[in-house]
């Protein structure tokens, strides 16, 4: 019996492709996870239902299928979510309604008050970056595994920090409490977290940790900026919301945007790695060009899809807050420029079949455009959207 597999198809199913794990057990896990989500949502509703309005309840209900789907598509997300839930609830429980306990309780002071957790996240991201670089330099699988584990740990601390901070904001006063995505400090935590999680997803998907050094470098730069900003400007203080930000749209508009930014950052790093590898630099220490190209496309695809949603949501919000869904405000205009940039990128790849160095350079340049839209507009241009000013 002769078989004739084509050369290209022999090149590989990724090692991580689940070689069909016992489907029964997987199904049990799915059910258990879904059950935990439903229980959590019911508990939240029974406990806080009277404080919720229609939107709150709808969002709570929607979380169940969304998180269930996410956990199904990406299994490591389940333990991540579970640990974050336990730590965040522990933080809330330890506070017992008294903000002063952040100073008095050991676990709060050194581990899971929002500031401590975010400090841990920062430290862990730095160490993870070092581990990934060491792994790349020494071709050490162990160091890369350590980097991966540390990135998970940093993400857990970052997410915990944000959830606990959400609770802390209510300790300042019921009218002050709000979701912690309202200023530059908070969204930088969100950006680091989302970029790291997106990377971890693709790390598992492609079964290669070799890109970690590059992606974690961007995350580390973001964290360094975060710390500088926090220490020089006391940006970590929880501030009440100005009236224009008191809207439901914020809860969806901001996270959607940061999935976009995170995707674009990841794509830019894959692009940078692609450029190096295709010139023979670090070849063998970085993933194969084909994998990098694939990561780049997928990161831009997910970034673009979410950025589209975020911009639409932004327009819907602008219609309520500023009186017009589109007023060519600098932030809006730069969002359009970012969107156009990646729209052209996708057309080039999907319709014209462009590949290689050109697209990699473009993805790298795209990050500059994105960074300007995210930070530059706030620093250099004035407009309505001056919430995260430096």
């Amino acid at each position: 019996m002769e078989l004739a597999p084509s050369p290209s198809s022999s090149s590989a199913a990724p090692p991580s492709a689940p070689g069909a794990p016992a489907p029964k057990r997987r199904a049990y896990g799915d059910w258990l996870y879904a059950l935990a989500l439903v229980t959590g949502a019911c508990f939240a509703f029974l406990r806080y239902g009277q404080a919720m309005d229609g939107y709150d309840a709808a969002i709570l209900v929607l979380h169940v299928p969304i998180l269930a789907a996410l956990g199904r598509a990406w299994r490591p997300f389940r333990p991540f979510l579970a640990i974050v839930a336990v730590l965040a609830l522990a933080g809330i429980w330890l506070y017992q309604g008294d903000p002063a306990r952040a100073e008095q309780t050991f676990f709060l002071k050194y581990l899971i008050s929002s500031q401590a957790a975010i400090a841990w996240m920062s430290a862990l991201f730095f160490i993870a970056t070092g581990a990934y670089w060491l792994g790349m330099a020494a071709r050490s699988d162990f160091a890369e595994r350590t980097g991966s584990a540390l990135t998970w740990a940093a993400s857990v601390m970052g997410a915990t920090g944000l959830f606990v901070r959400w609770y802390e904001s209510y300790l300042l006063g019921p009218d002050i409490g709000h979701i912690p995505i309202s200023n530059l400090y908070e969204v930088f935590v969100l950006f680091s977290l989302i970029t790291a999680l997106l990377y971890l997803f693709y790390e598992g998907r492609y079964g290669t940790r070799k890109l970690g050094a590059f992606v974690l470098l961007t995350v580390s730069i973001a964290v360094a900026f975060l710390l500088w900003y926090a220490f020089t400007r006391e940006a970590y203080q929880i501030q009440p919301l100005v009236p224009a930000l008191q809207s439901y749209w914020m809860k969806v508009h901001v996270p959607a945007n940061f999935v976009g930014y995170g995707g674009f950052a990841l794509a830019a790093m894959a692009g940078a790695a692609h450029l190096l590898v295709s010139r023979g630099i670090l070849a063998g220490r970085l993933p194969a060009p084909k994998v990098l190209e694939d990561v780049m496309y997928k990161a831009i695809a997910i970034g673009f899809a979410f950025f589209t949603i975020a911009t639409i949501l932004g327009a819907l919000w602008a219609a309520e807050a500023w009186g017009s869904y589109w007023s060519w405000d600098p932030k809006e205009t730069w969002a359009l420029i970012v969107w156009l940039n990646y729209a052209i990128w996708l057309h080039m790849r999907l319709t014209r079949g462009l590949r290689g160095a050109m697209l990699a350079w473009w993805a790298l340049g795209g990050l500059l455009v994105t960074t300007f839209a995210f930070l530059g507009v706030n620093m250099f241009l004035s407009g309505l959207h001056s919430y995260g000013s430096l």
């Binding site: 078989l3 084509s6 590989a12 006063g173 327009a315 009186g323 052209i344």
Partner: protein, 707 residues
Amino acid sequence: MMGDGESVPFLLSLFLSGLVPDGFLPQRPRMQQGASARVSAIQALIELLSSMRFAISLLTVLAIASIIGTVVQQNEPANAYLNQFGQFWEPVFARMGLYSVYGAGWFLAILAFLVLSTMLCIIRQATPMLREMRGFHEHAREVSLRLFAHHASLVPTLPPQARRGAVTDYLAGEGFRFRIDEREDGALVAARQGGAGRIGYFLAHTAIVLICAGGLLDGDLPLALQMYLGDKAPTSGNRPVADIPASARLGPDNWSYRGNVYIPEGGSADFAVLNAGDGILLQSLPFRVALQRFRIDYYASGMPRRYASDLVITDNDSGERFERTLEVNKPFTYRGVTLFQSGFDDGGSRLRFTVRDLAPGAHPPYPFAGEVGARIPLETLGYGYTLEITGFRPINVENMAATAPGGGFESFFGGGANAQSGKKPRNLGPSYTFKLRDAAGQAREFSNYMLPVEIDGRWYLYSGMRASQMEPFSYLRIPLDGDAGVDAWFAIRHIFFDPARLDALAARFAARNLDGDDSTLRERLKEAAGHTLALFADGGFAAISEFIEKSIPEAERERSGAAFLQIIQGLTWDAWMIAREEAGQAALEPGEAHAPFVRDALIALADSSRYGAPFYLQLNAYEQRQATVLQATRSPGKALVYSGALLLALGVFGMLYIRERRLFVLLKNDETLLAMSSNRKTIDLDETFARHRDALAAALGATAPQN
């Protein structure tokens, strides 16, 4: 507009020259060959307009044009641009429409071309795409299947008929739809899934057309057309509403608009003001809006928490009347017009002042009243100024930082809720601003606080002054005396700067410091004091130091400077004591306890010579009247834009995430040939193909191929 029209083809040709391949555009000689050549030229043009190159060039031009609009501040007054760009470039840029890029003819033309190009693209792609979506390619030839990047050949153990059943069962189970083509040497099972991804293409591209069309309807274009075609023209905003001509008024049936509605408390309006170039247009609303009350709620920190207008809306046609509270982020739509809370202003608060003349020997303080927004000539009071009361704020929360920002490591930790140290919000009470305009039209602006402010245990009354809008305010700090309050300093000033009282003040100072018999020495001290006082009255500390530099040898300057300071401080003390005597208050014992007041009073005396106003306007009482600024918009294109946005979101996800896959299984007597293709060539395809190949091999009883 003509200039804009010409620049469009130029820009496009610039961008396209590098992108259009040779032979793509019709050649000139061929165009002269009659009707058939003309038809092919039109075809070529359509081809060009609907091509990817053209669309991508347009997107690039659009992105660059958008950048210009964020770099050049839009819709500023003309003289701001003149300052920024100078005499030469200002009109050039104005002609290019750079001051309102997004409404410029060439920008709209780019958008129009984008819409056209996208529409042509959709039309051109529709037929092939639909065919592709429905078709199975069941006539694919064996040769071409073998050329697929993903193909594999399995040697069968089962006869073709048995294999066919196994294959179709497998494909159906995997969610494929398929069609079978019977051939001489066997059969081809052509299967596909994920065809809906192509619907994503239609949705996303139709969305672009819808969004642009809706945006154009709601943009400046309809108004520009009315001004161009009709008899409408903007007019100057500096006149009463009643004087605005019909040509600058737009009826309630106007298609789309966005304007401001200013309503003071107790007042009402049934029109919005639209800005058009340097002038305005009045837009009638189909209802009248009255403001009962404007409210600002604050957080404990003093930050505003909520802006709300209590409105009464009366329909102009039906007379229907209802109340409504409008807030930021909570707009309200009535009869197609949406109202938004966009700002607030003073609506003419009534302020009652005391005028404290600063000139020595002038009349005692007297009352005076005015309201915000008023311009009051002061000739009757003997001043050559016009008073313009420009603003009033009842609450001024300032952050009196206890520590410098950068609380450091300790305050970083310990939870966001606790890290509120270092900031001490404090309400400084009401403030008011006014301008004093002299006969030449020059104005100084003043910003005064009604209540004294405590700094390190001492109390001051603050008054800010600036000679131009560009400068920050510089503050006069008037110290308060323990029992006499603010009166003390004004009394001191009157005595201090009164030439008629100079002699007596100097004599009193000399007598207090030299009470012995040496009258010559005392006389000399009195003279020195008189001279110092005259210098100070003339030019403050600067005059004294100038005098020292001119007439005292360098070695002695420091000592004599100290002596002058002592004299001038002593004179301040004596003026204070005289003031207290005249007010019937007890004299004070000289001592360290009073030194800070003397020092502050002296600084204020020095600063007051540069104050630039003949009087101090002190606020005693106020009746606040606020005004709300609403935005009224009518945007009928919104429905189009929103439905476009929905299609866009669905389309983008469809295009990127519904993967079209085609699997071909050619069943021959001696071979089973598998081939797979997809419109998205990612690594997943390798994986998916391997999975199908192995599964089919198993189902067909063939050995799974080895990698």
